[in-house]
């Protein structure tokens, strides 16, 4: 190791990334041999890089959506953007544009929906996202009543909310019921059902009773701090589905499933 070229932070990263030429690498080898703490840090960097690649590399093997091939070939078929965009535009709703790509079930609800002011309903999305962020990381106490007592859970929550609730079956989407809990809402009790996939990915369903008959809305999407939320309002209650583990598409397909099952 030469005195005139001290080992820098940049050297350590270049070393961990395998970007150094042989002479400099040898200097680093010698330097690290006497500094276990730094050596361990370098090993940690390499491990994280390997995990990153292991996590994202599978994307390389996924089938390429047709719309991307079209775009790569220079054909400008904007209409094909996000399969559902077209339906959404046809419904004449989307002055809001960009962020609304995935309103898949628009057509299901479109026929009977009167749009309500966004701000009025955004509160439920925020509350559902907060409730999800608070309870979904729980390892030992994710729910108050577990799925093993589902009947009791549903009866209890129904009674407190003054609604006839049921816990949707989402096995088709790979999610099974973990259980549920009662939460304080703005004006009364709120129910939260939690679901989990085999891999431990979690999603919560947030149900709030509406005191006065409400104007129904279509699915809306909101996202904050990594929690994606699809929510909609029925006459007597509002629903929100929240998850930080599922993609927007997965969340939407679950929202659709829940919507169909809970349809009166």
């Amino acid at each position: 190791m030469s005195e005139e070229s001290p080992i820098t932070e940049a050297d350590l990263h270049a070393y961990a990334d395998g970007r150094l030429g042989a002479p400099r690498r040898a200097e680093l080898d010698a330097w690290l041999a006497t500094r276990p703490e730094e050596a361990e840090r370098v090993a940690g960097i390499r491990e994280t890089s390997a995990q990153l690649r292991a996590f994202y590399d599978p994307v390389l093997g996924e089938p390429v959506p047709a719309r991307l091939e079209l775009a790569a070939s220079g054909r400008r078929e904007r209409a094909s953007r996000g399969r559902w965009g077209t339906a959404a535009f046809a419904a004449g709703w989307m002055a809001l544009g960009a962020a609304l790509g995935a309103l898949a079930t628009w057509q299901i609800v479109a026929t009977r929906v009167v749009p309500a002011p966004a701000a009025e309903n955004a509160a439920i999305a925020r509350r559902a996202a907060v409730a999800h962020a608070v309870y979904s990381p729980e390892v030992r106490h994710p729910v108050e009543v577990g799925a093993d007592q589902e009947q009791h859970l549903v009866t209890w929550l129904s009674k407190r909310l003054g609604l006839k609730l049921k816990a949707p079956r989402l096995e088709e989407a790979g999610m099974s019921l973990v259980g549920g809990r009662l939460l304080p809402g703005e004006v009364g009790p709120v129910a939260q059902f939690m679901y989990q996939s085999e891999r431990g990915r979690r999603m919560t369903l947030y149900v709030r009773a509406e005191s006065a008959p409400h104007r129904e809305t279509a699915f809306r999407y909101a996202r904050e701090n990594n929690v994606g939320v699809f929510y909609w309002v029925e006459q007597t209650c509002s629903y929100a589905i929240a998850s930080s583990d599922l993609s927007k598409e997965e969340l939407l397909s679950i929202a659709t499933m829940v919507y169909k099952q809970l349809e009166p």
Partner: protein
């Protein structure tokens, strides 16, 4: 090989980077689509013989930055939400999930540098050119990204001080 074939070949790479950049699948593919469309519109600016892939990452970076700047979610939630707690690692699946989550918590400019280096294996010089920043900035962002990631993965606050190695 003409441009179309080369662009089509590069789609998986663009998707991988986009997925890591924005994490939800539909938005990631939207970003790829916008990038490809932009690339076609700007193809005359691409200098033949240079690395098409690196050029596409530059295009994607610009598209992404503009998107983030201009688009807000459908309904913007307030900023008072608690930070999403990281679940302690219990199993590999959860651990990897946490890595994905930790990546999403990095500041965007640090995330881009880290991903271009580790996922795309671009040289530090290429990363500097791709993002239009000096190489010193690449190195400091890389260092900060890794330090923060390590802190997040340890479940600590990201306030850990950078170590200056002499």
């Amino acid at each position: 090989m003409n441009e179309t074939e080369r662009l089509v070949d590069l789609i998986p790479r663009l998707r991988r980077y986009a997925r890591a950049l924005v994490s939800d699948r539909a938005s990631a593919d939207d970003l790829v689509q916008d990038t490809l469309e932009r690339a076609w519109a700007k193809l005359h600016l691409y200098r033949r013989g240079t690395d098409l892939r690196a050029w596409l990452f530059t295009v994607m970076h610009n598209v992404h930055v503009n998107k983030v700047r201009s688009s807000r979610p459908t309904d913007t939630l307030d900023d008072e939400m608690p930070e999403l707690a990281l679940r302690p690692p219990q199993a590999d699946a959860l651990l990897v999930r946490d890595l994905d989550r930790a990546i999403a918590l990095l500041p965007a400019e640090q995330r881009a540098v880290l991903l271009l280096v580790t996922l795309e294996d671009l040289s530090y010089e290429e990363v500097a050119r791709t993002l239009g920043i000096p190489i010193g900035t690449v190195m400091s962002r890389l260092s900060r990204a890794r330090e923060k990631l390590r802190a997040l993965m340890l479940g600590q606050s990201a306030a850990a001080k950078l170590k200056v190695v002499k």
